[in-house]
Symmetry: C4
Subunit: 219 residues, 4 copies
């Protein structure tokens, strides 16, 4: 709800509860989506059961393990950054709820492109599968940037003198052009597309400590 400054205590309490429920709901979807990724890991069914056959059948499924870890780290970084982002948001207003909902739509469906990439990474259709994967995470990044825009707009309404953009917002805007390049490169080399995604992770992970600051009051 829209917070009116200097209102009575009961109202501001209700506001806090609102933001808490938004966080809890988002955390729930992040947690479920990240855990459902593991459903893509399937036990192999063998015609002749020997220790060697099981070892080989499990080994042959390496693209499934790789894409599982890939998407797990993606959702984890997205959660860490979302965690920082919502520290800037103070009011669970309707626009924020819907912008956040858009982001959650793409978080919740992430097991699908992950399973697709896992199934086709070692086939001749790897280009399409990895282009869809990179494009999908690109759109996810876009919805995240949209959410930043809503939060910064809210923050500036409360602190009109504030001009500085959060570091993590600038870092996030870096993502979209990179994912676009990854999407295009996927048709030429699927591995190159995944390498670009990995470099983005490393940047975001290394730069994450820079965000270890709560927005000061006068920003």
């Amino acid at each position: 709800m829209r917070l009116r400054p200097h209102k009575d205590h009961e109202q501001s309490h209700a506001t806090d509860v609102g933001t808490n429920r938004l966080e809890a709901f988002s955390d729930g979807i992040f947690a479920i989506a990240i855990t459902l990724l593991a459903l893509n890991l399937q036990v192999p069914i063998l015609t002749t059961i020997t220790p060697q056959a099981l070892t080989m059948a499990l080994g042959a499924k390496w693209p499934t393990y790789l894409t599982f870890m890939f998407s797990f780290v993606t959702v984890l970084i997205a959660w860490v950054y979302h965690h920082r982002l919502l520290q800037w948001a103070k009011h669970a207003e309707t626009l924020l709820l819907f912008a956040n909902g858009m982001l959650l739509l793409f978080i919740s469906a992430i097991p699908f492109p992950t399973a697709l990439l896992g199934a086709y990474l070692t086939t001749s259709a790897a280009s399409v599968a990895s282009a869809i994967y990179a494009g999908y995470i690109g759109i996810l990044n876009f919805t995240y940037n949209l959410l930043w825009w809503v939060v910064v707009r809210q923050h500036r309404r409360d602190h009109p003198s504030s001009r500085r953009l959060p570091t993590s917002m600038i870092l996030s805007f870096l993502g979209f052009p990179c994912y676009l390049i990854a999407f295009l490169m996927a048709f030429w080399s699927p591995a190159a597309a995944l390498v670009i995604c990995s470099i983005l992770w490393i940047i975001w992970t290394v730069k994450a400590p820079d965000m270890d600051v709560v927005p000061p009051k006068g920003v």
Copy 2:
């Protein structure tokens, strides 16, 4: 539990915890149901693997993507409105727990009519699938209205002078007759049924900012 006014501090603390757990449990089910929708998105299995074959097989699954997004937005709007509704509820009394449980029953099973519609939307059985879908969301809306009735009853018990109904309650009561019409029209045109559902969304999304007000004490 039933809150007795003017009781000691420990009791009212326990009451707050109760309402918090109700919210957390509901948020959990909303979050899981919305995320399980994505399990309907299945990786196509190809007999001949080529980039073109994969692209076409993925494209042919558009009803699955459409219904996924449809149900995602439905559950998201239901969550936003549920979020507002529970701000009016102050005591986690047993009647509220069970009325809320009824709503959660229909939220939790929403992946089923969604998968049904996704599977049969482009077949000759589309009429039955879309009638069931519209009818299902109509019943969901009915349980939501029931919950409003319990909450308003509770609110009036605490504030006997209050006569004004919450805007979002009136908006919600609009849903049931519309879904009934959608249910009946589905037998004539499945698309028309889905259009009616979409119009309801737009109304509810546009009107949602009107609810950005916490119920004032004397309402």
Copy 3:
């Protein structure tokens, strides 16, 4: 952790956090188990697709819908009563964590006997399926009673003069012999077993308002 009375504020704060996490974790498992029940609702696959064939195929699945609702209400009532139970528990001590874990084990696996009953209710193996179902819920009730014992023991340690048992504990102890009778009757009549389970629900739902009281300090 074991609360030592009259300790400093930081410690008692940590204790509260502990109980909150126990509640949150339990609510999470209740919410996920109740939502996973809906995965048993499967879209029928038709050889000849007509509106009539789809309607009939959906209608033939009535045992699946019945058992879904049956288990949903069971878990919902279990959650409502668990909610009351944890209001009596003040310290997240290790014994409580493991007793609660036992209960959660049987809550989390409830989709399995539910699916079993849904698959075999209309077959000649209905007796075995419903006996397992009734027996399973009986064991679930037993773990719940065990948890009550731990909580009452904790409560009496804090309030040595307290002798009165909570009403919901007595109601819960009613469950085990009834489920045992239901288990035995299942071999003679599966329907009779389910009727006994339903009567228990009605008693627990009707009696639930009696629990709308927080334990007074001197109980």
Copy 4:
């Protein structure tokens, strides 16, 4: 975020919220992973349906039930100990978020080695399946130890005079060499590997009450 001591109240409030969200997110993943274990319990499909055939088919699935309970208890103990661990952590700094994320990666995928062991425990490939299972839980234990290292490092930064290590950390470090032995013994005897894992549980469960103490300020 990095807590600077003696900062204003708003900042420390934001810090608490950060730790709460970390706990909520972790609890969510623990709760979902533990509940998804139950998806491995599948209803048997019979060619000839009789009560005897159903009883026998269900009985033949005992490795599935055993491994379900095995992994459930593993995740439950991991959650109880994680619960204690996070009571030592006071700041949701980025390093902690990622170390915790590593642990959650292995928690979320635990249904996979569980299903593997359930499927192959009674076959000639039991050695490979149980070696993978023991090795997997060994790596899980390793990530948990890593998290302890981060938390203790954080704790010592805040309390430079503190030298005593938490009991549960020492108990946890016991796990890795035991799981390594279990991994190696699995190739000789799968049962022996599982017995070693069980002994660890009993030690951790019996020793858990020793941790029922919040870290005192000056530790």
